[in-house]
Symmetry: C3
Amino acid sequence: MTSPKSLSRSPSSTVSANIVSSILTIQTPGRGFVDLTAEIAKFVKDAGAREGAVTLFIRHTSASLTIQENADPSVLADLTTALDKLAPENAGWTHDTEGPDDMPAHVKTMLTAASLQIPVLDGELALGTWQAIYLIEHRTRPHRREIVLQFAGAT
Amino acid sequence: MTSPKSLSRSPSSTVSANIVSSILTIQTPGRGFVDLTAEIAKFVKDAGAREGAVTLFIRHTSASLTIQENADPSVLADLTTALDKLAPENAGWTHDTEGPDDMPAHVKTMLTAASLQIPVLDGELALGTWQAIYLIEHRTRPHRREIVLQFAGAT
Amino acid sequence: MTSPKSLSRSPSSTVSANIVSSILTIQTPGRGFVDLTAEIAKFVKDAGAREGAVTLFIRHTSASLTIQENADPSVLADLTTALDKLAPENAGWTHDTEGPDDMPAHVKTMLTAASLQIPVLDGELALGTWQAIYLIEHRTRPHRREIVLQFAGAT
């Protein structure tokens, strides 16, 4: 552990808060990453969001959320490989009634995120240059997935 | 990576926000999953929550939170097995003064969640059909655990 | 799975909400844990926060956030070892143009947290006795990292 070597902080601003909620429905093409960034940005714009945070919550236990690199598709391929190594099929799972890809999907969901929060500043998602918001479909076949979107903040 | 194949969004609604906080104390029976869903639903009802989100924050580093399947108990057994494989005891950890289950408990906590957010819509937790909210006790013996509950939204 | 054995809840309080945002910039010394707790506590104090929650969001995909033990530095050393075992260098990653430490850094980020929420009660971060808030730098060399801080609640 180390202390921060160099650390600066921008001035704070204060505004009052509203809540805007929506449900996003996605038909996934099966296992892999689905980029949600443009759709979340559209929600922020439609909500008239100025300052606050968007919460994403996925209503499933065999698909999950993550924020990852948006540039090189090989990163996403390697992330899939990594998850497969951490939660392989045919590893002696006792829960196998829904197919060999189901229990690994639950493990991968537990290791990634069911809920995410992304701040909104000046009406824009405060993502870094290389960040995108992904749904990760862990099941082999296509599924219909629901994500609750909620903005809390100044509109 | 793929783009969403089919994606729909329900209309948004806007409401103003309040904060309601509470601390939940749980005596765990030792290692395993404790279902908190009914208690969180009770908090939402008692708070008069209508639209917003509940934040859960666990005040410990050897127990954590997750959202997982509520139906087949074999899923929880396999999740425990998965965590044990990812963070086994007796793996040469240097931190061993608190027993062989302590350092694996820290690793498992890091790989799962210390904080969770669950939206509330129409006065109900917006969980999916198969989702439950669990505390995961990573230590072998029973422990007293505290979780901060906080609703932010319209009451 | 078990039901809570013993469970108590403190009374709730209700207050209205404001938003206070800030960006924290940190120059990391390279791979390892950076303790942010004092700086986040300062943000909470400067914001005049009384009751609500602080959201942390890291704007990078090769560094992440976690809440972990603040006492014994050997815990942090073992957590680093655990992450290295889960996402080793030279494991046949296809994404290797940014160096052997880059793809493992993305995997480690996915397995830990990009966003965290910590409740504020009575003007103080509601951390447990043994909890600290860490940035984890996953890259070998020093990097400049940005974290969005946002308090939502009563000021």
